[in-house]
Symmetry: C2
């Protein structure tokens, strides 16, 4: 029967990597690192019959309280559980944000480059997506200021500004503290919501903490911070949160899916509650960060030893991605074609642009593969890029 | 701490019924009947590390295969797992259907009366909602035919027609076999999708089965059937499915939430897979149907003994609801006010209309309360309605 199914559309995983391919572009954790034991132990503790009922719209109270305590401990700011709304993860949260904060045709500003599948959700909501430049300090907020002023001169304002402030996808850049404050000031001046996707904030690999999360600005009343268990624990939980002042979260209660079906994902919420209360989440996150830090060091060293000198990057200090800048002599599409020939894949820069900007860059990740595969993947990249000697060759 | 939280916005359940009130309007299962033991046993069997990963977009393969086998056994038609797409329950499914099948401003036809919170989701998607009459055989498809013809004369066609075919919410009516066929013929003629919310199809209380589900027409290529574990097992799983031909389901793969986050709710899907494979779902559904059948008999008898003769209804043969028609001499709003004074609540007819039609009816349910509360609730109703003698009084 399984043989028959293999030929059907019945699939068991989101990603099916061709046999023999090493897909260094993939932004997913490695299966073998996932916390099965923690989840099984937490799931076997399901002891509340009311968790099987339609749940409170904001999410189960115990989940919100445990999450508030956890975030307070890791964010270094006081997180009030009344400022948390349960989600099915950041992808669903972003969809809900679009439903609640925008109407079709509204302008939203996003980073260019940004997380490419977010663009699919903005398209689902028929939004007018406008790009903002990104540099080494993240979103160029002065560019945003110019765009806001120009839009105002048309008598318009954006529904929201979407930003990935820390260890950005794909660039790895972190928005500086000054820019964070400036972004919030702009949101107050122009009356828009800052939708901060803080998916990578809690995954850092150095002793230097990033600036406080955008969640720290929730007192402004213009910021919502989207968080998730997908990167720090397990994507399969399909669980996250929106963090903001209650006035900004209250409209989510009127979102049809929540009004009708009750709070999102109470079963996963209960599992996560146990995982947080027992300290397993923090233990796991610490261990995962350490593993990823090791892989970053390894991959950075292997890349430096193998790639041409004129391919430029900064080793990521957190998050999931290396963002390699290619010299003009290397065509991104041609490089990728040679990569595929060599049995290695990556993501090309233009994929991350809302307007098709041909970023002369490629995105690599180190999360899905262990050291040996990373080494072999880089060897294949070197052959595709032409190796260290290519420039003078 | 709990005392402090009680005064806060932190809540633990969706519904908070005022102390002493019996809310016969509520369409939820009784907490005490929920299958905690089955869920705990299934959850303790979580043994697949890949279930913690981003999942296959259509839903986990094992879930789809087990669901196909289960539906084949209870629907009496062959259900191909390749025709199933996992959802977070029917509320989320309807939201996704709107995203994928409609654009803002599109016309959709719905029953009047219908499930009132579905209207919230249609509003979230800025749809132009048009009512179709409902009678004892469900949606009046000839009325729909007239509306379709009129719309065509404007050069337009609907994005979809939403229908609750079996044991409808709120009327309890079941769409006849002839009307089902006619509805499908209309969908083929006018090129729209039939979105059938089959939430109550598997909850019947007589030996007479309803017509086959609308899912049986999936070969037409114009019907999708939304199903859920909420009514036959546990709302808290937030798990369901869309059933239709792959050509109709394929666009859901491009829905941003799914493309980005992977398949919906794999953990609940794994729990449900075990629950189906072990036979626990069928055992539970059979037992639940028997309990509900007993409550329908009880409530029907109590209502007949207590309410005025000119209040009319048909005892439901499935689903969740009694739909009582009130005589002109009884004002629905005034009756509800007297009900609240007596410590009992219900839902008034106009709530279920997309256009505020003042249906002279009230909706009652028997699912949330056990026999003693149902008896006491009816006693209170009798005082509010004026009792059997009221008509001549």
């Amino acid at each position: 029967m399984l043989g028959a199914m293999a030929a059907s559309t019945i699939r068991y995983q989101q990603v099916e990597i061709p046999e023999g391919m090493i897909d260094l572009g993939l932004g997913q954790p490695q299966n073998e690192l996932l916390p099965l034991d923690h989840v099984r132990r937490a799931a076997s503790c399901i002891d509340r019959i009311d968790i099987l009922q339609y749940g409170a719209e904001w999410g189960d109270g115990w989940y919100r309280v445990a999450l508030g305590e956890y975030l307070t401990s890791v964010y270094g700011i006081a997180v009030d559980p009344e400022h948390l709304f349960a989600t099915n993860g950041n992808s669903q949260a972003l969809d809900m944000v679009c439903s609640v904060y925008s109407r079709p045709g509204d302008v939203v500003f996003v980073e260019d480059p940004t997380y490419f599948i977010a663009l699919r959700t903005f398209a689902d909501h028929h939004l007018d997506v406008r790009p903002v430049r990104v540099d080494d300090e993240g979103m160029d907020v002065e560019h945003l200021a110019e765009l806001l002023a120009a839009l105002r001169s048309e008598g318009r304002s954006p529904a929201f500004v979407h930003v990935i402030p820390t260890f950005q996808n794909p660039t790895g850049a972190t928005l500086s503290a000054e820019r964070r404050a400036r972004l919030v000031a702009l949101s107050e001046e122009y009356h828009f919501v800052v939708v901060a996707d803080e998916v990578y904030h809690l995954l850092r690999y150095t002793d230097v903490p990033p600036p406080p999360p955008m969640a720290a600005f929730d007192g402004s009343g213009t910021v919502v911070s989207l968080g998730t268990f997908s990167k720090i624990f397990a994507p399969g939980l399909r669980l996250g949160w929106v963090h903001g002042v209650p006035e900004l979260l209250a409209p989510f209660e009127d979102y049809g899916v929540v009004t009708s079906g009750g709070g999102l994902n109470p079963i996963s919420g209960l599992i996560a509650t146990t995982v947080m209360q027992e300290g397993w989440l923090e233990e796991y996150r610490t261990s995962l960060s350490s593993i990823y830090a090791g892989r970053v060091s390894l991959m950075d060293a292997e890349l430096r030893a193998a790639l041409p000198d004129d391919v430029m990057w900064t080793a990521p200090t957190g998050g999931y991605f290396f963002w390699l800048g290619l010299p003009a002599r290397l065509d991104v599409g041609a490089v990728r074609a040679r990569c595929l020939d060599q049995g290695v894949d990556l993501r090309v820069g233009s994929l991350f642009s809302p307007i098709g900007t041909p970023h002369p860059c490629v995105r690599l990740s180190f999360t899905f593969y262990a050291d040996d595969d990373l080494r072999e993947g880089v060897r294949r990249l070197a052959r595709a890029f032409g190796g260290r000697e290519a420039r003078s060759g």
